[in-house]
Symmetry: C2
Subunit: 154 residues, 2 copies
């Protein structure tokens, strides 16, 4: 299969499709029971008065179908005293994998991070997701073995 | 030892003392070689035109010495479609531990997160830091076993 696609910033017209991809990601991660969000608050957080997240999408050239997305926000390193980019989600529909879409999304964000003068580009991966870990390492990422995420749900 | 302390938001006059505590934290984490930041950019990122971080401090009542701090920013959960608080650093000077200062800093941030309608309060811990892990679990945190942090340094 060959698919022509482009990477672009999301617009308000894309929000429902992005939310459906979030649901698909949760299913892939076996975490669907954690999803309590809705498309209205996603739209407000992306395009409302006080946006706190950004999204880029991969769209097929022919049908303009959104087949992948990366959602990110600004984080910070006190050791660098410098902003970074934290990639909260990256997802490509299973039937569109192996075409370089994930790689293009990641490369786009690395470019954004460099353009903004960020010190680091970071994200998290599930330790059982070996294809993802291998892919990220090929992209030049270190997987930090020692850090564990702590969470209090409010 | 009994020490009276108060927790308050940092002001611009506190920035140098906070930066010195960041250096002390890096030393404690055996990561001093990663520190490339400086007090000027920390001040800009806290109190400049486009602040991206916030700090609360623990200060002794008698000498107004800053003996601990917590530095945080806004993160996001796509599963909740809701903002959260991410605690980048929490640190109390070794000679002031065991007095409830870390607990007060964490409880203050839990209150901030609830007041802002956040879904989660999160941070990271080194897996060898057993006293910290035990403390966080006593505070009600889950330590997520499966997630690993990925990083590209730019």
């Amino acid at each position: 299969m060959e698919v022509n696609f482009k990477i672009r910033s999301a617009t308000v017209a894309d929000v429902l499709e992005i939310f459906n991809l979030i649901l698909a990601l949760a299913e892939y991660e076996k975490l669907s029971e954690q999803v309590t969000g809705n498309v209205e608050s996603l739209q407000a957080d992306l395009f409302g008065d006080r946006p706190c997240i950004e999204v880029i999408i991969a769209e097929t050239e022919e049908l303009q179908k959104i087949v992948g997305y990366a959602l990110f926000f600004t984080n910070y390193s006190t050791f660098l005293t410098q902003r970074g980019i934290y990639l909260e989600d990256i997802f490509v529909l299973p039937e569109y994998r192996g075409l370089g879409i994930g790689k293009s999304l990641l490369n786009s964000l690395i470019r954004v991070a460099k353009d903004r003068g960020c010190g680091r580009f970071e994200w998290s991966v599930l330790d059982w997701n070996e294809p993802a870990i291998a892919f990220y390492q090929r992209m030049g990422a270190e997987v930090l073995p020692e850090w564990r995420i702590c969470r209090i749900s409010l």
